[in-house]
């Protein structure tokens, strides 16, 4: 691809070359070798000078493009801060999801044996109860059954409560989806940012003349009121973050709440 400027120069040069060539023919027909040689040399230099001019321009463009790239601090900021930041955020996601999975599994592992033993004992008692209904139990057996039913009811009450508590824990453990989801969305946002900046970089190296305005995206949390999701340790979230509900309660009560 040639710019119109270069095409214009080349056609002007071709016209001059044609002029020189005509003169060259005249000199050679006249047998003036000296003048002919001088003309041939001149014609060579004409071509060289255009080449050097073009080369010089290319070098300048490259220089400018490199400078523009260096000035685009967003990309270097991304590599220096945002990428390590994103790694920490994703590590946080791994840790949170692992913690929630364990919390859920613990509750299930504790509840399953209780539910199983309640079901098993209920079946056994049910058999004895059937025999009682069919008047097949002796007085001694009935006393035993009554005692077992009493114990069973007491145990079921306690373990039922334990199972309820565990299920409630399983419910609360699902909060990881919200918290990690917010963090993952932030990382997706960063990936889009990287993509846009890389496209800009490709454009700089692809189009020598047009250097695009470097993309400068402000960090999302600054001032748009939308919030930034959970504070992740070891990231740029370090700032003025209140730790935990107690910290929030203290702050609010200091404000007269």
């Amino acid at each position: 691809m040639q710019s119109p400027e270069i095409a214009q120069k080349e056609s002007a040069m071709r016209a001059r070359q044609l002029e020189k060539a005509k003169q060259l023919v005249i000199h050679m027909e006249a047998g003036d070798d000296e003048a002919a040689n001088r003309l041939i040399e001149e014609m060579g230099r004409m071509h060289e000078s255009l080449l050097f001019e073009e080369l010089g321009k290319l070098t300048r463009d490259l220089h400018e493009a490199l400078n523009a790239f260096r000035l685009d601090s967003r990309l270097s900021e991304i590599t220096k801060n945002d990428i390590p930041d994103a790694k920490e955020r994703l590590n946080y996601v791994v840790a949170m999801t692992e913690q929630s999975a364990h919390r859920t599994l613990n509750a299930v592992e504790e509840s399953l044996p209780m539910a199983e033993s309640i079901a098993r004992q209920a079946r056994e008692l049910s058999e004895a109860w059937q025999r009682f209904r069919h008047r097949e139990l002796s007085a001694e057996e009935f006393r035993l059954l009554a005692q077992e039913v009493g114990e069973f009811l007491e145990r079921t009450g306690g373990e039922g409560e334990s199972i309820r508590r565990n299920l409630s824990d399983v419910l609360m453990a699902q909060d990881f989806q919200d918290l990690t989801g917010q963090v993952i969305r932030r990382v997706i946002h960063l990936v889009q940012d990287v993509e846009e900046n890389l496209v800009g970089l490709v454009r700089i190296s692809g189009e020598r003349l047009a250097v695009p305005e470097p993309k400068r995206k402000e960090p999302r949390e600054d001032g748009d009121g939308k919030g930034s999701g959970p504070a992740v340790p070891n990231t740029s979230d370090g700032g003025d973050v209140i730790s935990g509900q107690d910290g929030v309660d203290d702050l609010l009560s200091s404000l007269g709440f």
């Binding site: 409630s168 909060d175 919200d178 917010q182 919030g227 709440f257």
Partner: protein, 126 residues
Amino acid sequence: MKILIVDDFSTMRRIIKNLLRDLGYNNTAEADDGSTALPQLLSGSFDFLITDWNMPNMAGIDLLKAVRADAKLKDMPVLMVTAEAKRDQIVEAAQAGVNGYIIKPFTADTLREKIDKVFERINAGG
């Protein structure tokens, strides 16, 4: 007692809804953004608003401000349940007239305690 739960994550809405049911509040509705919550609040007869902060279109803080600015809704108790924990944000919410502020992740006990406190204060204030 009719309660509107606003959060862009459906999992969190379900968690809060289940916790409220545990606490004896069965009449709840949900919205996934401030922008969809506001029309619901304006047209429904809600008594209490529980909202997240960080949502895609209209943030919880803007919803809170809109509620306080509306003649019909301005006295509605609002509880914020959010992962936003910056000092400035909590102060902003307090100044906007929030009735309670819960940081995620939270426990069932915290939710109960804050809801009780909100109503205690409202009843005490007449």
